[in-house]
């Protein structure tokens, strides 16, 4: 029997993982807490059928379960979880040899059942979400992943550093380059930003 969501809400990430070691059912709390965000993240990184994204997420959480004791207490648990999901997605992409090539599903099909993500900066700039996602998908993977993490998932530089395992200075440099790449692509496609 899974743990009631009321109980889950009272517990921190660390408490949930600790309790999971005693009672596996508590592990479902951490899955439910991050499922939506992580599914959204996977689908933003790569266009794929939702079922495949689910498979990636399940595989990632099994990996998280297996490596519970490897968790670095100095890192935020959410960053660690993001890192594992990120790596699983990359592995999937490598296997499918599908970096930035071809759309398996349109964005409408993917987002039908999901709550629309919030785009803090982009909403303020008045960009249409569809155009942003299309532009992101046309970017090189390295640029796409960093923009998704920073502006769509709203992770801090430190968290991105932990997810991608790069220095924070490199995070800043990559974000800068990615933004320039995004702006250049928008100009090439004749897309104007409304500020």
């Amino acid at each position: 029997m899974l743990v009631a969501s009321v109980l889950c809400k009272e517990l921190s990430d660390a408490e949930i993982l600790q309790k999971s070691l005693e009672d596996l059912d508590y592990f479902s709390c951490i899955f439910e807490r991050y499922e939506r965000q992580l599914m959204r993240y996977i689908l933003r990184l790569a266009r794929m059928p939702e079922q495949e994204a689910q498979d990636i997420l399940q595989d990632a959480f099994i990996k998280i379960w297996k490596n519970l004791h490897a968790m670095d207490p100095r890192m935020k648990i959410s960053s660690w979880i993001f890192r594992i999901v990120h790596n699983e997605t990359i592995s999937w992409l490598r296997k499918r040899n599908a970096f930035g090539r071809g759309a398996l599903l349109s964005w409408e099909e993917k987002y039908d059942d999901m709550e629309m993500p919030s785009f803090a900066e982009e909403e303020r700039a008045g960009l249409k979400e569809q155009k942003v996602m299309d532009l992101l998908n046309d970017l090189p993977f390295a640029h796409r992943e960093i923009l998704v993490l920073r502006f769509l998932e709203e992770l801090s530089y430190e968290e991105i550093s932990d997810v991608l395992r790069i220095p924070e200075g490199t995070v800043a440099t990559r974000i800068n380059r990615a933004k320039k790449g995004f702006a250049r692509l928008a100009t090439e496609q004749g897309i104007q930003f409304e500020l």
Binding site: L24, S28, F31, I166
Partner: protein
């Protein structure tokens, strides 16, 4: 909720358990040990590089018939420089893939690895450990050419104006010298520069610049101590 049930069912059915903590602790310890080993190797190699530089006769550069680049390459302890660099690179790799090592820039990774090796290597050199280590390589590895052997090889070139050996007798302005291959030479020292530290006494080991004037005669222009300045010990056979 449905998906979390699926996940729990999958975990239960597959019988997957968290890897034991000791496994991660062991991996961490092995990584640390690997890093320490790299730093120590780099330090050992660097200490021998310092020793080699100390033993090197840079004044040979002006006297060798080869090009300057060839001369420099002949004098440099290339093997130990390569070992030092490799050790630093492997140590950097160890830092990069440690738990928090990704937080460091490439420059910092290099800095930590190199500085540790340089500091420890310098200590090793100052304490005399480099000489002992180098001698151990020389005695244990037949293929290894020691710094001293290299030095003897460079100096045993009378045709090219270089000679070295032990003074066996002094007769006014002629030294009786036995070179490191056991050959006897008469070295004429009239007008030659004699380094202040050289006493020109029997038993002393010296290196001589000059010109070969006969089958066993040499006109000296420059006489210096075998071990270079500041070395009070002169060992037999140039070692």
């Amino acid at each position: 909720m449905e998906r979390s049930k699926q996940l729990m069912a999958q975990i239960r059915e597959s019988g997957v358990h968290p890897h034991p903590k000791w496994r991660f602790v062991l991996v961490k310890m092995l990584r640390t040990a690997g890093f320490v080993l790299c730093v120590m190797s780099g330090a050992a190699a660097f200490s021998i590089v310092l020793f080699a530089v100390q033993q090197t006769d840079f004044d040979l550069l002006g006297h060798m018939g080869h090009s300057r680049m060839e001369a420099i390459l002949a004098l440099l302890p290339l093997l130990w420089i390569v070992v030092s660099v490799l050790a630093v690179l492997v140590a950097m790799y160890g830092i990069r893939y440690s738990e928090r090592g990704y937080k460091f820039t490439l420059a910092r990774q290099f800095g930590y690895s190199a500085v540790l090796s340089i500091l420890l290597g310098t200590l090793g050199f100052i304490s005399g450990g480099a000489r002992v280590l180098e001698h151990t390589f020389d005695t244990e590895l037949s293929l290894y050419e020691s710094i001293q052997e290299k030095k003897v090889r460079l100096w045993m070139a009378p045709e090219e104006g270089r000679l070295a050996g032990r003074i066996v007798g002094v007769d006014k302005e002629v030294l009786n010298l036995q070179d490191f291959e056991g050959n006897s030479w008469k070295v004429h020292i009239h007008g030659a520069f004699v380094a202040p530290i050289v006493e020109l006494e029997p038993g002393e080991e010296v290196k001589v610049f000059g010109n070969k004037s006969g089958s066993a005669e040499f006109l000296a222009t420059d006489i210096r101590p075998w071990q270079g300045f500041g070395h009070p010990l002169h060992h037999a056979n140039g070692r």
